[in-house]
Subunit: 418 residues, 2 copies
């Protein structure tokens, strides 16, 4: 198997991000399904098209609190010319009204209650005045005014959601309302995660003078916690073949995706990289992405393997650029996270290297009607705080040398609040 790197010379060729993503996507198999209780279906992904099994509402019903009337009776009613109706009964949300509403009659009705026979509209409470068994109606109402008619919300047989739909709580509520008690969803994506390097220590351990506390796993598991993912293992590995072999063989057996950080640059202690080259099919190694060049993608034992750089900033950016899209594909999700993108005005010039897709961390602030984006000082992969000082990523394409101060750019926001 040809290597994409030369240990003394560096990356022979950097693949463009778009091509890299295309290769990754082509080599991912969407996971299978499982059934879950409706209460556990939020943020899961539908495995089948869902059609409505009923009309909603199942009958014509009041959309407001008020009086069920015949609309013809109140035609022309106004503040100056109220029309008086006789109140002949009431109907509450959980009951059916037994009688029929006749001419110049009204029935007190609650929101959601079935419309009594004979009535075709609701006069809202605020437009009436009640006295001695009668109401004065101060406003006319058209036929079906303030009435939800049968099937107006959802029609029986209507397509509700397509396979691949990420279920928002609003969607789950609708399905529960329709009586669904269990749903077929894609099962969670099983991920094995390792941070590789002899220099890595756990919190609480003595890292010594040149060791560092490992922080990539909490970063990646935290980011992926917003997606339907289950971690099979999340470990620190030394640059030792035994440990790496065991991690890989365990992960091949039970995972849909293997993600590692560290050990994919051109450092000479990269036992993981050597091992992946020796047993897997390496599709690319080295991406035209700054910062985050040393990304490797392979199939190992048939399973997709994403080797990310070990520097936390590069690990974060390659997670955003490659791991999240891979998870979305594996999880069966249709659509893309456009909600994260806001248009913002740059407060100062940013430069970029031609031929590389550059990811700049920016701080975003609202200023009147628009957003302002300020590049965070220190764009090196080593500047871990740049992620914390920023709120979003600005992507500068390969063929752009930079953006001027005042330019309008798209920023991928990664925070919940700013």
């Amino acid at each position: 198997m040809a290597r994409y790197v030369d240990k003394h010379k560096g990356f022979k060729k950097l693949i463009k991000v778009d091509e890299a993503l295309k290769i990754i996507m082509e080599n991912l198999d969407v996971v299978g399904y499982e059934e879950v209780f409706i209460e556990d279906a939020c943020w899961r992904v539908l495995y089948e098209d869902l059609l409505s099994n009923r009309d909603v509402p199942p009958f014509d019903r009041a959309a407001m609190d008020g009086y069920a009337v015949r609309s013809v009776d109140v035609a022309g009613a106004s503040e100056n010319n109220p029309i008086r109706l006789r109140v002949v009964g009431e109907v509450r949300a959980s009951k059916l009204y037994e009688g029929v509403v006749g001419p110049m009659e009204a029935v007190r009705i609650d929101t959601g209650a079935p419309m009594p026979e004979g009535s075709d509209a609701v006069v809202i409470l605020e437009d009436t005045e009640f006295r001695d068994g009668y109401i004065d109606v101060f406003r006319s109402v058209s036929k079906f005014g303030n009435v939800s008619v049968r099937g107006e919300d959802v029609k029986r047989g209507e397509l509700l959601f397509k396979k691949g739909h990420l279920l928002h709580p609003y969607d789950v509520a609708l399905l529960k309302y329709l009586g669904y008690s269990r749903l077929k969803v894609y099962r969670k994506v099983r991920v094995s995660l390792a941070s590789i390097g002899n220099e890595l220590f756990e919190v609480g351990e003595d890292a010594g003078e040149s060791g560092i506390i490992e922080s990539n796993r909490v970063l990646i598991t935290g980011v992926l916690s917003r997606w339907p993912v289950e971690f099979m293992r999340s470990v620190i590995l030394p640059d030792e073949e035994d440990a790496i072999q065991k991690f890989i063989s365990d992960s091949i057996r039970d995972s849909d995706l293997i993600v590692t950080t560290g050990g994919t640059s051109l450092g000479r202690g990269d036992v993981m990289t050597d091992y992946v080259y020796s047993i897997g099919d390496v599709f690319f190694h080295g991406v035209a992405l700054q910062p985050s060049k040393p990304v490797l993608f392979a199939l190992v034992g048939g399973k997709p393997f994403l080797g990310l750089p070990g520097y936390p900033v590069a690990a974060a950016i390659s997670t955003f650029m490659f791991v999240e899209p891979a998870i979305m594909k594996l999880a069966g999700i249709s659509g893309s996270p456009i909600y994260r993108v806001v248009r913002a005005r740059l407060t100062r010039r940013v430069a970029s290297k031609l031929g590389m897709l550059q990811v700049v961390r920016v701080k975003v602030r609202k200023d009147g009607d628009e957003y302002l984006a300020t590049p965070v000082y220190g764009s090196g992969a080593g500047v871990l705080s740049s992620l914390s000082k920023g709120d979003g990523f600005l992507l500068i394409p390969e063929n752009v040398e930079g953006y001027d101060e005042g330019a309008l750019v798209d920023v991928h926001i990664y925070r919940e609040v700013i």
Copy 2:
């Protein structure tokens, strides 16, 4: 206690949404704190200002794989005029280099490794060619080029995050990297939730002809699952005083916020509303918000009580308008969820009633460089599917009669993917 409603006449006066929010905010006490392991700190809220306890990096280190050199030695190096240096050793990420780099010498260095004494820059691997113990350097490098200098990322004593900061995984990774093993965070907000109504049934129960399957709890718990919230109870209650009394007294004892849906409109079976009026201080009842007028806020036994309408759409919109901001305040979160707002062009006119803040569900699509927002047909509170057919909320202020086709509007996106 004066009532804000007249059972026959309707809401006496509708409070504006801004005023309602102001009143709610004034009556919320931020929760206390707890300590959590760093691994559990994602999406939690810092309880204290955090200063850095160290310099990052703790020493000057290589920012790229390459050779540590003296920058003066490679001044003027180019493709046509390479400069040859002798390779005198190597330094790996976890080790310190023992020697000193002298004139015309180079040390092979991995990203992250401490810079050897004497060297002041890194020539990246791609700009060199190695042969027989020497390298040819094809590009000059300035002093500190490709070097992360001590404290460049984070300076000891620097303010990292303020109290109230919602911790993103990137932030947690930084803190872990700095050696923090536990963090003081606001404890989760304790919420008691009830759906009220004799017409409500659980999934799997026979709802009969006029009963409905309860769906508000899965909606509200789902939406709030993105915030640091812990549910103390989440129940269906009948319109019966015993059950309601028990729910309220249990909730007063252990919760920071009580949320109910249903039983706050002008229907006559509103046992919960009567009970809250009898034992609590009602601050407002009836909001100029469409759809979602019958919102009630009270202090009950000193605890904030938000009574939302029972219709799922109204429950969803009042959760968005009132419950989420209340949770953010209680949880100690600084900032606002601006990331959810995108600017979009309306594909058709929407009308609105003056004097009410109208919430319109819109479907959002990307069209070239801009977003298009299409109002979802059926804006009544009863149209549950409008939430599922939409992707976001368009808020039309009280003093605006509507927006024309083609107008640019702000849409609050509620989906993760579109």
